[in-house]
């Protein structure tokens, strides 16, 4: 008997099937390689080194979120001392998994959770936390459920079918404001991914790289209240086109974007990955630009839930938060990306060709024009929900007429993007509240000052005037 028989017919623990045992892969070999990727990632996540790194990461994310300017952080720490600061942060933020808390968790109010996701690479941390066991490590029994569209995500959150979910980051703002939904307070706990989108055009537009030539084009975005919509509008408006009059923007689910592009129904889209890379893979489109070139580090999707859920289940929420943050810590490490692509490619998760996902996550990709590009930060997973991001989104909602009248930018941002609570409670504890969570943002070379949001909105040449 040979020892290298890869089907292992004499192994009592393995079902002998000429295809793989789980039914997910075409061959036993493929199954083994996927399993190996999972085992390797699990091993990496179980090293003391990673645990320390991930704890540090969570803590640092938290502290950084509270003190965006380092000088301020140091001043604050010097003023109150390390212990007090830790206690203060620990007592106010539900994440509060400062290392001590990671050991003594509160009793979970709810163990069985349902989390929705849309099968795009933005959902990476949320999804991979499942096969890697990060949820179960927190004592949670989580089902990650693939969902057919963003409107359904909204409805299932409102119906309480999902306990928490993958959101487009402007969605919790929109739902909280009652735009396109009954107003229900929602929260963004972390940003799921930063960068990671692109503008894809049909191959026949290879020579139309200047957006000024795009008059009459038809574009698709995945949802109204999405960064995709806001960034596309911003980009074409900077080129002097009115996104409501000179081009047409439709809401189309991402897989249909590729099919519509092939059929010539649309000229391009600003969509989530892997569907930009998928269009290249299918030889119907090319990547015009990565959204990272518009705003490096922009948020796209978020992880969030309803305010009610957090208030009813603070410990469960904290555990969930820790699991997702651990996952983000893992996903941020470049060396893990190739293995992650393998783990999330099967049918149960993204259901995409692995090579497409690898290109998106590693940033070494074919651009559809014959070039191989290397952009390591094509997609990133920086979890901090800066409130300035929320304010920027609100300015764009105001700019394009999604919200009308007076907008109290900061108040809404602080209500929805979760750093707020911390500040409120610090005030209650009679602590000096750090000014922050509002770092400045640069979009297409123009600096956005969240303190002057209204002036920013009024400063655009192309916008919907309030009466129009």
């Amino acid at each position: 008997m040979r020892h290298d028989n890869r089907f292992d017919p004499y192994n009592p623990d393995r079902p002998l099937q000429m295809r793989c045992a789980c039914g997910q892969h075409a061959s036993a070999e493929e199954h083994l390689s996927a399993e190996a990727a999972l085992t390797e990632l699990k091993r990496r996540s179980e090293t003391a080194e990673f645990e320390a790194y991930s704890n540090d990461f969570i803590e640092a994310s938290l502290v950084k979120a509270l003190f965006p300017q380092d000088a301020l952080r140091r001043r604050f720490l010097r003023a109150v001392g390390k212990g007090t600061a830790m206690a203060a942060i620990g007592s106010v933020l539900p994440i509060a998994s400062l290392q001590a808390m990671a050991q003594e968790k509160g009793a979970l109010e709810k163990r069985e959770l349902k989390i929705g996701f849309i099968p795009i690479t933005c959902a990476t941390p949320l999804i991979m936390a499942h096969p890697l066991g990060f949820y179960s490590k927190q004592g949670l029994d989580v089902q990650v459920v693939k969902t057919a569209g963003w409107a359904l995500i909204r409805d299932k959150m409102l119906n309480k079918e999902y306990d928490a979910t993958h959101f487009l980051s402007p969605m919790p703002l929109a739902i909280s404001l009652g735009l396109g939904a009954t107003a229900t307070p929602m929260n963004v706990a972390t940003i799921q991914n930063t960068n990671g989108q692109a503008i894809t055009l049909h191959v026949k537009h290879k020579d139309k790289r200047d957006p000024k030539d795009w008059k009459g084009f038809k574009f698709a975005v995945p949802f109204e209240y999405s960064m995709h919509n806001f960034l596309l509008r911003y980009y074409v408006a900077e080129a002097g086109l009115d996104p409501d009059r000179d081009i047409q923007i439709r809401v189309v689910p991402p897989p249909e974007m590729v099919a519509n592009l092939r059929a010539g129904n649309i000229d391009g889209y600003l969509g989530p990955d892997p569907f930009n890379q998928r269009a290249v893979f299918e030889e119907v489109g090319f990547i015009h630009l990565l959204t990272k070139e518009l705003w490096n580090g922009h948020p796209c999707c978020a992880f969030g839930t309803s305010t009610e859920f957090i208030q009813k289940n603070p410990n469960t929420f904290a555990a969930l938060y820790r699991a997702v943050l651990t996952s983000a810590a893992m996903a941020r490490e470049a060396r893990n990306r190739e293995l992650i692509a393998k783990v999330i490619a099967p049918q149960a998760y993204l259901n995409q060709p692995e090579t497409v996902l690898t290109q998106v996550l590693t940033g070494k990709f074919a651009d559809g024009l014959g070039n191989v590009k290397t952009v390591p930060d094509r997609a990133d997973f920086d979890p901090i929900p800066w409130q300035s991001m929320a304010v920027w989104m609100l300015t764009q909602m105001k700019r394009w007429g999604y919200v009308k009248g007076e907008v109290n930018y900061k108040q809404i941002a602080e209500k929805v993007f979760l750093l707020t609570d911390a500040k409120k409670q610090m005030k209650a504890l009679d602590m000096k509240v750090p000014d922050g969570a509002y770092p400045k943002i640069t979009v297409m070379g123009k600096v956005f000052d969240p303190e002057k949001a209204e002036a920013y909105v009024n400063g655009f040449a192309i916008k919907r005037s309030p009466t129009a």
Partner: protein, 293 residues
């Protein structure tokens, strides 16, 4: 007898011939799109790398995997064999075998349809027996009948606040009308003489309903039920594509999400076959209750 046997034999032969023809056209049409194993000389390393990223490894020689072009017959055969070899596997909430998915769909259809029958048949009886109720309800039926299932879906999701119950509700609301209308029609057109005979014999209304009207109207009622079943099976695929989760409609959506045409075609085939079986079942039932005057 002999003639009818030879007819069915000939018809069967013709069917097989048409099928072969369709398959042959399919084969020829997809043949040209399969790439010729092009000689790949003089490719720069960068071009080779690019080709690999595009899923076309020049060294491996042809066979670009998992592209979403129209499948060849061989690929289609593989897909069918793959799905049918493991119809019952269950890998968590997002990945289940085809039989499991069909099971979910059939369960939803069954439940929604049963509810529709429970409402439509008694109500149809009442409408059929009373011209007044018929006149009164007719405008509502006429307005509600032509509404598309997908138009009900958002309303159902919003009010019922549960996606699987919404799916069942949509089946219910779409399959209730043919049954209702046919039952009413069947009951209303029971022969006058029979009713008159029943009246002269002073039969109780309940007995009249069950022993005179029901058998007389049964063929029409079953026609309505058969049409409704067809509609219910049409509706479930659309509803599940919209709501997702489980079922054959979700399977189609999920494979569409992966732009995998072979799997979508396979699902279409399964939907057709199951629909046909359901229809055959009702055809049998219909035969059982039909009588000759």
């Amino acid at each position: 007898m002999n003639a009818s046997r030879s007819l069915s034999l000939r018809a069967g032969l013709l069917s097989a011939l048409i099928l072969l023809l369709v398959l042959a056209v399919w084969h020829v049409a997809t043949l040209s799109s399969t790439p010729v194993a092009a000689a790949a000389p003089a490719l720069t390393p960068e071009q080779i790398e690019y080709a690999k990223l595009m899923g076309k490894d020049p060294a491996a020689g042809g066979a670009p995997a998992e592209k979403s072009g129209f499948p060849t017959l061989a690929q289609m055969g593989q897909t069918i064999a793959k799905h049918l070899s493991q119809p019952f596997y269950d890998n968590g909430p997002n990945d289940k075998g085809i039989a499991v998915q069909l099971g979910y769909s059939l369960a939803r259809v069954g439940l929604g349809y049963l509810l529709a029958a429970l409402v439509a048949i008694p109500l149809g009886f009442v409408i059929g027996m009373s011209p007044l109720v018929y006149r009164a309800l007719d405008p509502f039926i006429q307005v509600l009948k032509p509404i598309s299932p997908l138009a009900w879906m958002p309303l159902a999701l919003y009010t019922i606040k549960d996606s699987s119950i919404s799916g069942i509700f949509v089946i219910f609301i779409c399959s209730v009308w043919p049954m209702l209308i046919n039952t009413a029609f069947g009951v209303a057109s029971v022969r006058r003489e029979w009713l008159n005979v029943a009246r002269t014999l002073e039969v109780t209304p309940l007995r009249r309903a069950f022993e005179v009207i029901l058998p007389a109207a049964a063929p029409t009622i079953l026609t309505g039920m058969r049409i409704s079943m067809g509609i219910a099976w049409l509706v479930i695929v659309a509803a599940e594509m919209l709501v997702g989760g489980t079922g054959i409609g979700y399977f189609v959506w999920n494979e569409w999400n992966n732009l995998s045409l072979p799997n979508v075609i396979f699902a279409i085939l399964m939907i057709g076959i199951v629909g046909m079986l359901l229809d055959l079942m009702f055809a049998r039932l219909q035969k059982a209750v039909t009588y000759v005057d």
